[in-house]
Symmetry: D2
Subunit: 282 residues, 4 copies
């Protein structure tokens, strides 16, 4: 268990920001493990992530002194204690490869979170959920009763104290109302190299277009379909020999990787969003 | 100098095509060096490329016997003698990195062609053309006099017996009339991972969208902008640290590679087009 | 279920090989789905893979006529019926990520095989084996009793009619005796980009050397450690920020992919070995 | 022209390093453009790179105050003014692709340096040197007269005030004496994925071994052959269809890219070496 704190900051850029933050941490005796900054010079913005050891560190005292400083410097900020494992719900439909992958990564400690809930509009994932000791809830979704289904999902998410929703090839579109409840807290994987091939059946579209690489994209879900801030993308080479079914097989590996990296980075508090973009601290 | 012939075939798929072609080649004593076939089962099409040694091989006799067979089997076909070096014109504007690259590859024999002509709407490439002993023709292009410019270009291409036009970051859009004169004989490089970011300033668009990989695409030019059959694509990873200028620098390496591979494969008679796609025999 | 046959050939190169094989297939009415050839000109060798539809095809009659032809042409050859699913045993130690991955790929039909047996020197994989309905056999291996353990393994493999052994991060070295029983029938994944970092703890060695990419390699096991014919390799970028633990995490994705591709290609009869190398028909 | 300064630090890790450096820069009014740190926790080392605007910044005053602080904190450090363009010599033999590439990158401003001198043991690069207005010196190297050749080279380097030597496919091995004169100031490109295939003819070795990817590596030259700190590596996929000549062609693109990136990062003061490794600040 990592007993550390992460401080994430974004604010208008100005002189002295690093000095102010690192100086305060030093006066409180912080043993800094990682620190990274970024400036978007065009946008005039500053971003920072610092992680330090909490062993013998008075977090409350630091927070009390940091808050007014942050206010002065117009910072948006948060401090996360890494020993606390966020509660994550996985949404899935009939394709289970991302689900299998995420559950295994959690099991071996690669993903530092709790997964108390799996929600699906298909029954297929039930056995796997039981194997991993995770509650499985079947919530069928029909065009006629979409809002009832979402009401049930929202209730489940509330009961389980869910902080992050991962759409692990969940094939239903969430309503704007639903999305607004979880800003920057829903991660989706889209099976194309966005912004190419937005929408349904991207592998078929890629095949038709004759591209030489196919991709997958993980992103935060916003109200606009497939247009949220991109977290990770990857591609694999294909050739004329690959039929649509081959694209689907090759794409599954991409989907697993870009989704799991996005979830890992979110859980490690490495992501800051601004405009439609992400800063990924590595 | 490679003294070989390449036979390229595409036709409706049916039984016995490989047997017919390879049987005839065998009876003529061909020493086959490479042979590759492809079937697009959905489209019901067959594609084949065979390369064989011309040493002591009677090409005319083979051709005389092959032509009626090909007619029977509804083949589109051509035979290319690889000892003959196609005549290529390079079109360029003010960015010269692809031009430098292609001229060097020709010089060291990586590209098996003649380059008798460089056409540009900017004077910058003149010195480089002279260094390589290639005729340089400045053809300014203005909105008002586009068709006059194209008429001049067409005349130059005719005079020099040009068989392939390579747009090596040529920043002018060719008219449909011009494009129709050179079907599957104009190769362009577009500095994005098509079909994402069609049109002008793709690096700026990629930066705005916050993608995590940028790409480049080489393709045959058709009358529809950036929509011709894709020959090659590649990508490189970027991060939030990369500004537009960094994308431009990183992209130049992609552009060089995807364009030069496309030209090489075209010259080696490795490309067959169908619908909006390419078969690249490797 | 794919009702096709695959013919694999390797032999000294000479004129007329494709004509002979494709001609015979044509006379037997074969509907060829894929055909690929390769010549290693330096070694003077010819390799061929043909796959055709068995619907209304007399395989025995073809075989009867093909065998003498093959003898004449000094071919090593085999015909595999793809409807028959090979029987595969998975060997594993305490790291289960490749096992989870292979079992899921089998479950969704990506791997066309039976997996009747999992052998391990650790008990950890037992629950997963039960979940997938696969027999799990714990065979502890100690330095003192290695040959007894191998005798037990060989007996198990015989009982289950195993045709392919996949070492899915099995951390014991197999004896030459064991290896000789399964020539080209044991696939291993080594967690480095071979031939760099042969032997134990390759991620630690890569970290010490300061490489900028790490790799993984799947290969057939031969009597010489990590020196068998390479089937597949892949790499991922690392940086100075990555500690050994990060290499291990990133490497797991590589291991899964290169091992599963090797197993898939083996099952699809796409691999021919010669010298220390492989031909992978795609 | 970028009017900035870069401060590079490495030292034993301890609390307060960032606070000390950023605090001092802030008190001097520095407008920081980039800052990055790294800790190697195992080795207990701290690394930092800061770049700031020199407009209206008193560099001498800063330096006077920084030096004693650095002494206290046991820092090795240097400050580089980016407006000053380092003087680089290119060493080359008969393969010119890296030379063509580096000269073009310098010409378009991608490499921020002067290139006053090209040294070769072959005459081939003379015309290209003249085209770029660079002095070309032919220094033949024979086994018998290696030390005389090196003495001549050292004299040339001295006359031209050379600070960095780039071995752009220079096929002679430099003596330990020579290497010791330019510690961390000689960059080489080796045409393999080191540590695989050290020494001569790596493409032939890769072909013999049957690897599925080939690589190239740029590194600082040390007295031990091909064992210096690695700066950059990249790979490209090959298949059984690729003969040695194809590996050489594909490898040239890798060589160009990994060498030019290494030179660019060195010139941008992004590289710190420790043990046999590099930290590359991005």
């Amino acid at each position: 268990m990592r007993n550390t704190a992460v401080l994430l900051i974004d604010c208008p850029d100005r002189k002295g920001l690093v000095a102010a933050v690192s100086g305060l941490l030093y006066r409180h005796g912080a043993n800094i493990l990682h620190a990274d900054q970024h400036r978007d010079q065009e946008a005039g913005l500053f971003f920072m992530r610092v992680e330090w050891d909490l062993e013998a560190f008075g977090l409350d005292a630091f927070r009390a002194e940091f808050a007014p400083l942050a206010g002065e410097l117009c910072m948006r900020w948060r401090i996360e204690e890494m020993a606390r494992r966020p509660r994550v719900a996985l949404f899935v439909s009939q394709y289970l490869h991302c689900l299998v992958d995420l559950l295994h990564r959690r099991q071996i400690g690669e993903l530092n979170c709790e997964i108390p809930l799996i929600v699906s509009n298909h029954p297929d994932a039930g056995a796997l959920a039981r194997f991993h000791g995770v509650e499985f809830r079947l919530v069928p979704v029909t065009a006629a009763a979409r809002s009832e289904a979402e009401a049930e999902q929202v209730a489940l998410l509330g009961e389980h104290g869910i902080e992050l929703i991962v759409l692990a090839r969940y094939m239903q579109i969430l309503s704007p109302d639903f999305v607004r409840r979880y800003p920057r807290r829903i991660i989706n994987v889209h099976h194309s190299f966005l912004p190419a091939f937005v929408g349904a059946r991207p592998y078929h579209a890629a095949f038709q277009r004759g591209v030489k690489l196919i991709g997958a994209t993980s992103h935060y879900v916003t109200e606009e379909l497939d247009a949220g801030p991109i977290i990770e993308q990857d591609v694999v080479r294909i050739s004329h020999r690959d039929q649509v079914e081959d694209l689907i097989v090759k794409g599954r590996d991409l989907e697993r990787m870009v989704l799991s990296r996005a979830v890992m980075w979110h859980l490690e508090q490495r992501i800051l969003c601004y405009e439609k973009k992400t800063v990924i601290f590595d």
